[in-house]
Subunit: 240 residues, 2 copies
């Protein structure tokens, strides 16, 4: 039997691939993390825009399902969520889940730009001064604005259990876990100060971390440790 | 009869709302551009996160369809595209359309950050130096990288007509039109130089502009002129 899913994402970092890994791990479906195997990086590049690829992707993550290639994190999650019980069943519910996931994608992109505000192809050290200014804005204005929003989403959800949508776990909850986790790694001082204002979000983070499949994953070698080649980077000077 | 769609977006700019407007105009369905009516701005704000809103949005555009509120541009377009024949019919095709739309959203966000690289809540004039550096990177590296990608998508599409997907117009084509249009407004020198390298994209831009419903819209007062409160802004110093 062949493994149904192949994930193409850079080795050595959680990055945007991590939102996909968490969904695959929670669902308990087998997958190959292609770039982490021998020769995997060239397979990754070929899958992005090799000449025979009908639907090239601009950037990883890309999920291969048989002949189908799916790119863009939120798009992959919509596919997996629908297939593995990690998305609402109604069309309206799925639109709502996708809307929330796209808003998570927005803050993730902004988190990246705190250490690369001028050019994603130049080193952090070359744009450190600008990074300090952008990180300050992110810490003081953007993080609170986004977390206010997501806390409000949990508060307004009439379903039990403290989830973002309804009374069951969805891929949005897994992504909110990863968002908080990454922010806490990159901006520990900021997040420690903010935590008391967001009881719903932090409770959800703890709840997701305790799910058996997620807990097993987080304790495994499959979970790549946080590091400074990633989207969420800890530079103390950006968290003053 | 009530108008089926109400669009909530800031008055006075095309912005992300324009991608939605183009789909509504091409589909020929009636809609109300709420914020452009008297009292519309407060209706907009209330629709975003008023206390009685079950599914608040982080930011406009938001589309109201009866009781349903849909936020995030790509999410709205997925809904409208499916409903009004502006999306592929197969599930695989719809995932592909959504993937392309999300990649368009990525470059749109980067275009915004050329004039606001440090803080979206500070004036351009306060971050002009950083804007020059970011705009240079955008012009020299990011625009070519994204346009290479989209040109390749059109080239690899086996369908006739020069569209992004298959042999029929989709919302992705409308959004590529708007992307090129905005880039040409903001960066006329850069885009004039690049144009010969992207025959597929520029032909698509011309083709979309000539569609009867789109042409009528572009000539109407409903099309808000480009200006410097928008995502695509023309500052000559950013297009050297």
């Amino acid at each position: 039997m062949t493994t149904p899913y192949q994930l193409y994402y850079w080795d050595g970092l959680q990055g945007r691939g991590e939102f996909v890994r968490l969904a695959l791990e929670e669902a308990g479906v087998p997958y190959v993390d292609v770039a982490r195997k021998k020769g995997g990086m060239s397979a990754l590049t070929a899958s992005l825009d090799g000449e025979q690829v009908a639907h090239p992707s601009f950037a990883p993550p890309v999920l291969r399902v048989g002949e189908l290639l799916i790119g863009q994190t939120a798009n992959i999650l919509m596919f997996l969520g629908t297939k593995h019980g990690l998305a609402p069943r109604s069309q309206d519910g799925r639109l709502w889940a996708n809307q929330l996931q796209l808003t998570i994608a927005d803050i993730v992109a902004e988190a990246h730009d705190t250490h690369h505000p001028i050019s994603s192809s130049a080193y952090y050290e070359e744009q450190k001064k600008e990074a300090k200014a952008r990180a300050r804005d992110f810490r003081e204005k953007r993080i609170p604005k986004f977390l206010d929003y997501f806390e409000g989403v949990i508060e307004r959800n009439p379903g039990r259990g403290g989830y973002a949508i309804g009374s069951r776990l969805s891929y949005v909850d897994l992504s909110l876990f990863q968002l908080l986790d990454g922010l806490a790694y990159a901006f520990p001082n900021t997040m420690a100060k903010l935590a008391p204002s967001y009881p719903g979000l932090f409770a959800l983070h703890a709840k997701v971390a305790q799910r058996p499949n997620v807990a097993a994953y987080l304790n495994s070698k499959r979970r790549i440790p946080n590091n400074e080649t990633d989207i969420f980077r800890h530079y103390p000077e950006l968290d003053k």
